[in-house]
Symmetry: C2
C-alpha cells in the first residue's frame, strides 16, 4: 500500500460510516471478472454472505482503468475499506505488480496495485489466482478445520499451493508447489517445462485429450470420464494411468512435505471426482512409511478464487487494524 | 518442561551466579555421546567458544541414569540453565519422549526429558539428531546467512530437514523431509521402506557398496570414491548414476519446496565431495523453470549434531526468558 492510498483510505474511513465499510474481491479470469462484496467486519471463520456477487467481461485494453470502473460501480456509495484482485499468472504480491499474466497481455509488467490505489483511494492487493483459490479451499472449503493443507488444481496445468494457517507457503523464490513438474516417467513425453515425463504430461487436460483421441475417442476429458464411468476399456486404461501418476506425486508430497490434508480441485476434479477417488485409493494401497492425510475434492468450485480475494482482504484489513 | 523442573531451575538460578550460567548439549550417537558446554548468554549468530567439548561412550543399560551422571560431571559446579539431547530415532520433541531409538534399544519409549529434569533439576529438551544437525548447518554451518535451507544427510539412509528461520519444518505428522524416499526409478530395486526405486536404493551407502562389489570393487564407498577420482570406468558409472539420482531428487525438491539453499552433509558427502559436485552440475544442466539455489557441502562435519543441541538450548533459553 502506498502512503498516499493509505492516507486517502484513512480520510475516507473517518468521513464514512465504519459500520457499513466493505471489502471487495475481484477474481480476474481469462474471460470474466468475478466479484464478491462483503462487510469489512465479516467473520473469517466461514464465507461471509455476499452483499454483491456477479461477473463482468474481462477488459482487454486499458485493464487498470476498466477494473477501477468495475470496482467503482460495485462499491456504489459504500465505504470501501480494501480491494484485493487475483490474477492468473506471475505476480509480485509484495509490490502489487503483475509480472506476467497468462491471459491478459495488457497487464504484463503493470503496477496494477498502485494504479488502482490511486484511482480508488483505498489499499489494493494483487495476488496470484491459484493462491487465492488455495487459501479459500483451505480455510472455507474442503480444508476447513485442518491447519496445514496442500491444495491441488487439476486443469490444463497442475497448480499446487501449501497453505499453513491460512497462508500460502511460497518458497524462497515464490515458486513452491509445482507438483505438476514432479517426474513420474523418466522416459515419458516432453513437457512444456522443457523436461520429460512430468505429472502434467500424463494428467493435464491436453494430455488426457491426446490420449483419448489416440485411441479413437471423441471430445475432451469430460467425454473420457463419461466413457470411463460406462466401463469403456480404453477410457479405463487412460483414467487409471492418470490417477496412478497423481498418486505417485501425492506419495512424494507426503514424503517431502507431510501435509495435514490434501484438497484436489480444478476442472478435471469435478464431480463425480473419478481421478480423485482413484488416486486416493492408489495412494492408500501404495503407502508404506508415509503418513497419508485426508485426500478430498475441493468444494468451492469456480468461486474459490473470488472467495480467496475476499478472505485475503478481510485478513489484511485485520492486520492493518 | 515439567512444573517441578521449572521451579527447581528458577530456584537454582536465583541462588547461583547468572553470569556463569551454562547450557549443555549432548549428541547421543550409537557409539559415543559428544558434549558441548557453552555460556547461556552466548550469541546465537555464530558457534560459541565451548567451555568444554569431548565425548563419552554411549551407555547401553540404564541410559537415563548414565546420561545424568555424564551431565553432572561436565557441569561440575557451574550453574546449568538447560540441557538439550539429540537422539538418533523418532522423538516426541514436545514431551521429551524417545519413541524409537535407532541404536539404543534401552531408550525406546522412555520419557528421557522428564527423567533428566528430575535428576538434574533443570529444563531438558530431547530432539531428533538429524534435526539437531540440520539447524546447526543451517544457522552456523554452510547455510549461515540463508533464511530457508534444506539440509540433506547422505549416509546409510538419506535424511532431510527443511529449516526456516532456524526451525525445522516438521510437517503435519512430524515426518517431512524424507527425500530419500522420492521414487527415482519406478522399476528399480526394492527399498527398505517397502516401495521400489527410492533415492536411497541408488545413493545410500549400502547401495553404493553393493554396486561397487557387483563390478568387482573392494571396500566400501570410500574405496569407490577413490577409484572414481583415479578415473576407474566402473566407479565412474556408479558415482554418476548416484549423483544423477540425487540431482533428480533435488529438482523435485526445488519444484515442490523451493528452498533458498541446499546443504549436503553426512558420511557420503565429505571432502572431496564428489557426489555433491557432480549432483550440483547435473541439477544446473537439467533445470528448466526451477529456481536452483546454492547447493553446498556441509561444513560442521561430525559435530553438527552437538552444535545443534547447543543452538537449541540457547534458543529455548531465550524464549523461556
Amino acid at each position: 500500500m502506498t502512503a498516499l492510498a493509505s492516507d486517502a483510505h484513512r480520510g475516507r474511513n473517518r468521513a464514512g460510516d465504519r459500520d457499513t465499510a466493505v471489502v471487495l474481491g475481484l477474481d480476474v479470469g481469462g474471460s470474466s471478472v468475478k466479484h464478491l462484496l462483503a462487510r469489512a467486519d465479516s467473520s473469517m471463520s466461514e464465507p461471509p454472505t455476499p452483499l454483491a456477487r456477479g461477473r463482468n467481461a474481462t477488459p482487454i485494453s486499458a485493464p487498470a482503468e476498466a477494473l477501477a470502473a468495475i470496482a467503482e460501480t460495485i462499491r456504489g456509495d459504500r465505504a470501501l475499506a480494501r480491494l484485493v484482485l487475483s490474477i492468473p499468472g506471475i505476480v509480485d504480491e509484495e509490490n502489487g505488480v503483475v509480472i506476467r499474466s497468462a491471459n491478459i497481455p495488457a497487464l504484463d509488467g503493470s503496477p496494477l496495485g498502485s494504479q488502482l490505489e490511486t484511482a480508488l483511494g483505498v489499499p489494493v492487493d494483487v495476488i496470484n489466482d491459484g493462491h487465492a483459490a488455495a487459501v479459500a479451499e483451505a480455510s472455507w472449503g474442503a480444508g476447513a478445520g485442518i491447519d496445514d493443507v496442500f491444495v491441488l488444481a487439476l486443469g490444463t496445468g497442475i497448480a499446487g499451493a501449501h497453505v499453513i494457517d491460512g497462508r500460502v507457503v511460497t518458497g524462497a523464490h515464490g515458486s513452491a508447489g509445482e507438483l505438476g513438474h514432479i517426474t513420474i516417467d523418466p522416459l515419458g513425453r516432453a513437457c512444456s517445462c522443457g523436461r520429460r515425463g512430468c505429472l502434467e504430461t500424463i494428467i493435464g487436460a491436453p494430455a488426457l485429450r491426446d490420449a483419448w483421441t489416440e485411441v479413437g475417442g471423441r471430445g475432451g476429458p469430460e467425454a473420457l470420464f463419461e466413457a470411463f464411468a460406462q466401463g469403456d476399456g480404453a477410457a479405463t486404461a487412460i483414467v487409471r494411468r492418470a490417477s496412478s501418476a497423481l498418486a505417485e506425486a501425492i506419495l512424494t508430497l507426503c514424503a517431502v512435505v507431510d501435509p495435514g490434508g490434501i484438497v484436489i480441485g480444478g476442472g478435471l476434479a469435478q464431480a463425480p471426482h473419478h481421478l480423485v477417488t482413484l488416486a486416493e485409493r492408489y495412494v492408500r494401497e501404495r503407502a508404506t512409511f508415509h503418513r497419508v492425510p485426508p485426500i478430498v475434492p475441493a468444494t468451492l468450485g469456480g468461486w474459490a478464487g473470488a472467495n480467496g480475494t475476499v478472505l485475503t482482504a478481510l485478513r489484511r484489513q485485520r492486520v492493518a487494524g
